[in-house]
C-alpha cells in the first residue's frame, strides 16, 4: 500500500508527461490541470520526430552510451580487481587520490578537458564523447567492493589449477559479479544518455550530437509548445526504460542465485 501511494507520487510527473504529449495547445496548460487529454493526439509524436533529426541523435547517444559502458567496465574491472585482490604497493594512497577527484565540479573541468581534446585531435569525434568517461572512480569503487566479497578459497582453488590473475578475473570473478556489472552498465549508460554539456562542447556538427543536446535545442525552439516538447521527452526516455527492464532481472536475481556470501 505504502509502495503504491509512493509510486503514485513518483510516477505522477510521467503520467503528466505522457498525457500532455497527447494533448492540444489549450489542454497542455489548462488550469485547473486535467489528467486526460480531451482528444488523443498521437500526431504530436510524429510532429516531434520530424521536427528535428532525432534519429541521428538517438544513434549518437547509443554509440556514446555503449562505448562508455564497454570501455568503463573493462578498465574499471581491471583496476578494481588489482585494488581488491593483488598486492600492489601504494594502493591505499592511490585510492584516496581517486576519491579526491570526485570533488571538482565537472562544470569547472570543462576548460582543461576541452583543451586536451583539441591537443589530442579528438575534438568533434566519437573518441571525445567516449574516452573521457571510459573509467570512473564510482565504478572502480563498486567493483572493488564486489571483488572483495568473493570468497578467498575460490581464488586459491584457481591458482592450484594454474590460472593467472587475468584468467581468474575473466572466467571466474567477472561471471560471479554479473549483478554488479549489470547495475554499473545501467548507471553508466544512463549517465551517458543524459549527458548534455560535455557533448555540446566537444562536438561541432549535428552529425555527432546526442539526444540531450537535441532535446535542449528543441526545447528552446518550441518553448511554448508543451505537447511537442513532452512527446520528444517521452521519446528520449523510452530507450533507457527499455534498458532498465532488460537489465533489472540481471542485477536483482543474479547474486541470490549464485549464492555468494555477502
Amino acid at each position: 500500500m505504502l509502495l503504491a501511494a509512493g509510486g503514485v507520487v513518483m510516477v505522477f510527473p510521467f503520467i503528466w508527461m505522457l498525457s500532455t504529449s497527447l494533448k492540444d495547445e489549450a489542454g497542455a496548460t489548462a488550469f485547473p490541470p486535467t489528467l486526460l487529454p480531451s482528444e488523443w493526439l498521437f500526431s504530436n509524436y510524429a510532429d516531434a520526430w520530424t521536427a528535428a533529426p532525432f534519429g541521428r541523435y538517438f544513434l549518437n547517444s547509443a554509440v556514446m552510451a555503449l562505448g562508455q559502458v564497454v570501455l568503463s567496465l573493462a578498465t574499471c574491472s581491471l583496476a578494481a580487481y588489482a585494488l581488491a585482490r593483488m598486492r600492489v604497493p601504494g594502493r591505499g594512497p592511490l585510492f584516496a587520490v581517486l576519491l579526491a577527484t570526485l570533488v571538482i565540479p565537472p562544470e569547472v573541468s570543462l576548460i582543461p578537458n576541452y583543451i586536451s581534446m583539441q591537443r589530442l585531435g579528438w575534438y568533434n569525434t566519437y573518441l571525445a564523447l567516449i574516452v573521457p568517461f571510459g573509467a570512473s572512480v564510482f565504478n572502480v569503487f563498486l567493483l572493488r567492493q564486489a571483488f572483495l566479497q568473493l570468497p578467498q578459497d575460490l581464488y586459491e582453488a584457481a591458482v592450484l589449477e594454474g590460472a593467472t590473475h587475468l584468467r581468474f578475473l575473466w572466467s571466474v570473478a567477472l561471471p560471479l559479479i554479473r549483478p554488479t556489472l549489470a547495475i554499473l552498465a545501467l548507471l553508466t549508460a544512463v549517465r551517458a544518455w543524459n549527458d548534455f554539456q560535455w557533448p555540446l562542447i566537444v562536438t561541432n556538427t549535428a552529425d555527432l550530437r546526442p539526444i540531450q543536446v537535441g532535446l535542449t535545442v528543441f526545447k528552446s525552439d518550441v518553448s511554448t509548445n508543451f505537447q511537442l516538447m513532452m512527446a520528444a521527452s517521452v521519446l528520449a526516455v523510452a530507450p533507457v526504460v527499455v534498458l532498465f527492464l532488460l537489465t533489472q532481472r540481471q542485477f536483482i536475481q543474479g547474486i541470490a542465485r549464485t549464492g555468494i556470501r555477502g
Binding site: P13, V103, G134, T180
Partner: protein
C-alpha cells in the same frame, strides 16, 4: 620475492588503463583548476595573485552564503533520499506482486533527462497554471509562488527559502530511485542463509533489520552516503534549471540568491561573470570542504562499517 614483483607489475598493468583515463580527465583538470585559481584570470590569463583569490572568498558574503545554503541542501536531501530509498528497497525486496513495475516506477525519475524533469516540475510549480497551486485551490488553501518565493520556510531570512525547498523536494524525488536500486543490489547480496539462521534464532521484523540486515548493508550505506553527499555538495543541474537559470538576469540562484548553492556560485562566477580564476578558487575551496568532510565521515562511519 620474484613472484611479489611480478604481481606488483601485473597489478600496475591492470590499473594502468583506468588510471590513465582518470588521470588525464579528472586529475589533470583538477591541477589545471588549481593553477587557474592562483591568477586573476578573466577570459584571458592575467597577473599572478597567489592566494588572494582565496582571501577574497572569505570576505565574499555571497560565497559564504552559498556554502551555508549547500549545507542546508545536503542536510535536507541526503538523509531523506537515503532513508526513503532504503525503505523502498526493503519493501521491494519482499516477494510482492508487481515488484518489477514498482522498481521501474521508483527508478524512472533517475533515468529521465534533467531537461525534461525540470520542465515538468516547472509546470507543477507554475504560480498561475501549475499543479501545486491546483491542489492548494482544491483544498481551499491560499496559493503560493513556489520557485519565485525567497521567504524561508522557518522565518523570512532563514534558509531554505520556499524556492530552495521546492528544489530539494524534486532532488529527493529524483535521486530516490538511485538509492533504492543500489540498496536493493546490496540486499540481494545478503545471503538467505544468514537471514534464515537469524530467523531460527528468533530474530524478526525490526530486530532482524537492526541487528542483521542493516549491519550487513553498511558498506553499501556508507558508500551511498559518501557518493550522495559529494553529489549533493556539487549538485548543479536541477538547481540551475529550476532556480531561474538565465531567464531573469545573471545565471540563476533566483530568487534573491536563495538557491545559489556553492556549485551554482562557482558556475555563475566562472561562466556568466567570466571570473575564471576566482571561480576556480571557489571550486577548489569547495573541493577542500568536501575532502575534509569525507575524511571526517571516514573517521566517524568507517569504524562502524561491517565488511561481512
Amino acid at each position: 620475492m620474484r613472484g611479489r614483483w611480478r604481481e606488483a607489475i601485473e597489478g600496475y598493468l591492470f590499473l594502468a588503463p583506468a588510471l590513465l583515463i582518470i588521470g588525464a580527465f579528472h586529475v589533470w583538470p583538477a591541477i589545471y583548476v588549481l593553477y587557474m585559481s592562483l591568477f586573476r584570470w578573466e577570459i584571458a590569463q592575467g597577473p599572478f595573485l597567489g592566494l588572494r583569490n582565496y582571501q577574497h572568498l572569505l570576505e565574499d558574503g555571497d560565497f559564504l552564503r552559498s556554502v551555508g545554503l549547500t549545507v542546508v541542501y545536503v542536510v535536507g536531501t541526503v538523509p531523506l533520499e537515503m532513508a526513503i530509498g532504503l525503505g523502498v528497497a526493503l519493501l521491494l525486496h519482499q516477494r510482492l506482486r508487481l515488484r518489477g513495475m514498482f522498481r521501474l516506477l521508483y527508478f524512472l525519475p533517475y533515468v529521465t533527462s534533467q531537461v525534461a524533469v525540470a520542465l515538468v516540475w516547472d509546470w507543477v510549480f507554475n504560480p498561475t497554471y501549475g499543479l501545486a497551486n491546483g491542489i492548494l485551490v482544491g483544498l481551499g488553501a491560499p496559493t503560493r509562488t513556489w520557485l519565485l518565493q525567497p521567504d524561508g520556510l522557518f522565518g523570512r531570512d532563514l534558509p531554505p527559502s520556499l524556492a530552495l525547498a521546492s528544489i530539494m523536494f524534486v532532488t529527493i524525488w529524483y535521486y530516490l530511485g538511485f538509492h533504492a536500486v543500489v540498496f536493493l543490489s546490496g540486499l540481494t547480496s545478503i545471503s538467505d542463509e544468514i537471514l534464515d539462521a537469524a530467523r531460527i534464532d528468533g530474530a524478526a521484523g525490526l530486530r532482524l533489520f537492526r541487528h542483521i540486515t542493516f549491519p550487513l548493508l553498511s558498506p553499501t550505506t556508507y558508500f551511498l552516503l559518501l557518493i550522495a553527499t559529494i553529489g549533493a555538495m556539487t549538485s548543479f543541474n536541477l538547481i540551475y534549471v529550476m532556480g531561474g537559470g538565465s531567464t531573469l538576469a545573471g545565471c540563476g540562484g533566483n530568487p534573491l540568491g536563495t538557491t545559489e548553492v556553492a556549485a551554482l556560485f562557482v558556475f555563475d562566477r566562472f561562466w556568466c561573470q567570466t571570473e575564471l580564476g576566482y571561480a576556480s578558487a571557489a571550486a577548489f575551496a569547495l573541493g577542500f570542504v568536501v575532502i575534509v568532510f569525507t575524511a571526517a565521515n571516514n573517521r566517524i562511519f568507517a569504524r562502524r562499517v561491517f565488511y561481512g
